[in-house]
Amino acid sequence: MTGVVAGPFTASEMMIVAAARELAGQRVCFVGVGLPNIAVNLAKLTGAPDLELVYEAGVFGARPARLPLSIGDPTIVTRATAVTSMLELFGYYLQGGLIDVGFLGAAQIDRYGNINTTVIGDYATPRTRLPGSGGACEIAIDARQVFVIVRQSRRSFVERIDFRTSPGNVGGPNGARIRREQGWLGAGPSVVVTDLGVYHFDADGEMRLDSIHPGVTLAQVRDSMAWEPRVADRLAETAPPSPDELRLIRDVLDPEGVYTG
């Protein structure tokens, strides 16, 4: 990676690159398909060559011959080192504590990293019926840490989520205590990567803006969330994608621009 600016890049590319960099030093990652899949594979090719991938569909050690189009893509099975039943995947791998980093998306997220992917509106008579938990609630509890990738807006970064599908730092300062007392395996969300910036969490469990992406203003960030964000004392500008990172994304990982266009 170099510091050379590589010319224009998309918001998706910036998100992928920012997430990939956060994976440096991590060992075992639980992946769905889409942006996390590309981020994880970029990390393997750059700062985290030893990263081991566990796919939610039941694959360990995938060696896809093409970019998987969905988590239902047979290319992640052929020439993998292991495939596994859902009982073993969720029981032995995830709940068994083998996953260092899990990725989550979000329809709504609050300042403590609690996530809603269930309904918008009332549960019984929702305005919008979302997909539900899937494995998200388990990832939030069992993965040693959680990375969230989400596009930021006043509809997604909300003061109060309509339904808590996946617990983040719960109610703030007490989050860590709750996790510890209830014997959770995971420490909760550690990174939120959006199209505008990168957040980490303060010791009391609240999200803190640590860097904003090139070309993004703090005002834009504030306009795209429902609460007044904490901002790092020394707010950084996210280093833009390097030529090498962009080349890997565009030529190797998503040559048809399915996810990154």
Binding site: V33, G34, E56, A57, G58, V59, L69, S70, I71, G72, D73, P74, V77, T78, R79, V83, T84, S85, M86, L87, F90, G91, L94, Q95, T118, Y123, A124, T125, P126, R127, T128, R129, P131, G132, S133, G134, G135, A136, C137, E138, I141, D142, F163, R164, T165, S166, P167, V170, I178, Q182, G183, W184, L185
Partner: protein
Amino acid sequence: MAASKSASMRDAIAELVRDGDTVAIEGFTHLICFAAGHEIIRQRKRDLTLCRLTPDVIYDQMIGAGVARKLVFSWMGNPGVGSLHAIRRVTEGDAPTLELEEYSHFGMVGRYTAGAMKLPFFPLRSYFETDLPRANPRIRPVTSPFGDEVVYAVPPLNPDVTIVHAQRADAAGNTQIWGLPGCQKEAAFAAERVIVVVEELVAEEVIRADPNRTVIPGLVVDAVVVEPFGAHPSYAQGHYDRDNRFYLDWEAVSRDEAALRAWLRDWVYGVADRAGYIDKLGQERVAALRPGPAPSGSVDYGDYRS
């Protein structure tokens, strides 16, 4: 040796799926038996409780056709594409008409497992500090008798009928799957009745050559239906690819109730069976989904007779 359980899809569904039944068509992204779902629609079954971790396009079609009164699930969506609009239409707004009972993936897996093991509950570390136990009172805390730790529990799920698609089985129902196994084994053992739908019916000797490959024993199988390409537009590892275009196209069909009705008329009611569906799909499209070869290689079990 064992009696043949071979049946046509029509007979298997007619005899084994009854109005009001709890039905699981399982398969996590892989081996989703669209053929059985379509036959259930064609036979106009009603009031089913449909169970599945990931109600995807097949359940959108079935619920759009009106076969179900309730859905038990953990993630509903058109994977990689978006929403299941037929299901959303009956679950959103002031007067939803489809009852939902919702878990997480591991919760659903735990339910099938408890069902297969005849356990009154399955314990798991999910649901802490979430709204799911409030939304679904069948997710309940349980205290460990060792150290008083509290975890959550889900109740057993024992479908009246589980339907599993597989690469191959013998006539007695001994069924082999490779690629993602999902939770088909647990769903089959948990069920009162099991229908296995296969790409290929093979001689007992093929099964017996590799007993570790057997995922579901004939012991729990009631009918074996041979239906090549029966998992389209999902995939069967080694047989055909996921037909991604279908999933993309479904978005527009599913959004528009009239389009959905037209689709069901053309592709389900309007064809007699799976062979008719495949004819309509066309050999070119089918052929394009065939992968190249990637053989597993053979292992030696050893002949022990002296």
